[in-house]
Symmetry: C2
Subunit: 157 residues, 2 copies
DNA sequence: CCTATACTCGATGCGTTTAATCGAGTATCG
DNA sequence: CGATACTCGATTAAACGCATCGAGTATAGG
């Protein structure tokens, strides 16, 4: 199960992905739209910002916007930022490899071998599907990727 | 990530799957072989027993053995017993469906749609691969499925 | 330049889960 | 009948999840 926090993050990112080009959204509005506790959302957005997925502007007329095009933000990327490694075993993680303490030989580990296959199947989905995939088909009239640069420009990064 | 407990359970089950026909193994020996704290293993085995995956005999010459053939015990089955639902979202679980509290319309949930695909990919692996798959190729001289009935017989279930 | 607005961010609370350990109880073999 | 070994509820310490609070800082607009 993914964490509640990850669910919040993904819902917020989907809202941001639907945002018209050049617009930002206030944390409060984002919290209302995505149904996320505002105080909690702040922390989530800071994490996403630190990893370069969103940008923010302070003060009046402030708010958040995506820093990358929706089609270049995968579900896997968001999930890793919020929940950490997706891999079912630490010894399978690409982003945070850690040897199992009590495992003498990884290549001989039957459990690792099975979960390797499971993980690969999962990755093929989560590292492929993007925010664009999530919102397309549901609402066709949204800002196209070409307009995304303006948002970044407009926010002054 | 799967829990440490699930790792223990799977390691223990792999050891049991390798056991020659008709034999049982003491909890202590199983704990040593699979590198699991004995006291903790007892609880794990009780869970697996309650769900019909293993059988036990008390007293001298007691111990544990598989109650089903290794090829009919999937990794998913063990995982569900120990860690609960495998599904990344409660609203996707077949075994423990639960609506997300703040979701007005499941069919319109973009997050659900993406994770549905991820989950299906995972299930295709975990609900297909069995203990037999795990041990075959690593050690070819092990009890074949036909011998499994004797174990069940021998243990008096 | 001043102030209302809104992002920043460390600290804290607290209930749940995880990963065990303990000890008393009970069944079984020889 | 006694040694062995499974049974099982109680307890525990640490970590984690899910937030909330308050003080701080940057910015737009008057």
């Amino acid at each position: 199960m993914i964490s509640q926090k990850a669910k919040y993050a993904l819902r917020a990112m989907v809202v941001l992905a639907r945002l018209p080009a050049g617009e930002t959204v206030l944390t409060q509005d984002l919290a209302d739209t995505a149904a996320v506790p505002k105080r909690f959302l702040e922390h989530i957005l800071l994490d996403l910002k630190a990893r370069g997925l969103v940008a923010s502007r302070r003060g009046k007329k402030g708010g958040y916007a995506l820093l990358k095009a929706p089609e270049s933000i995968t579900f896997g990327a968001v999930l890793r930022i919020i929940d950490g490694p997706i891999a079912p075993l630490p010894c399978l993680s690409q982003t945070a490899y850690r040897r199992c303490a009590d495992c003498p030989d990884e290549d001989a580990c039957e459990i690792r071998h099975v979960f390797d296959q499971a993980y690969e199947a999962t990755r093929r989905v989560l590292d492929k599907l993007t925010l664009r995939d999530a919102i397309s088909g549901v609402d066709e009239r949204m800002p196209k990727s070409s307009a995304r640069a303006e948002i970044i420009q407009g926010i002054g990064i």
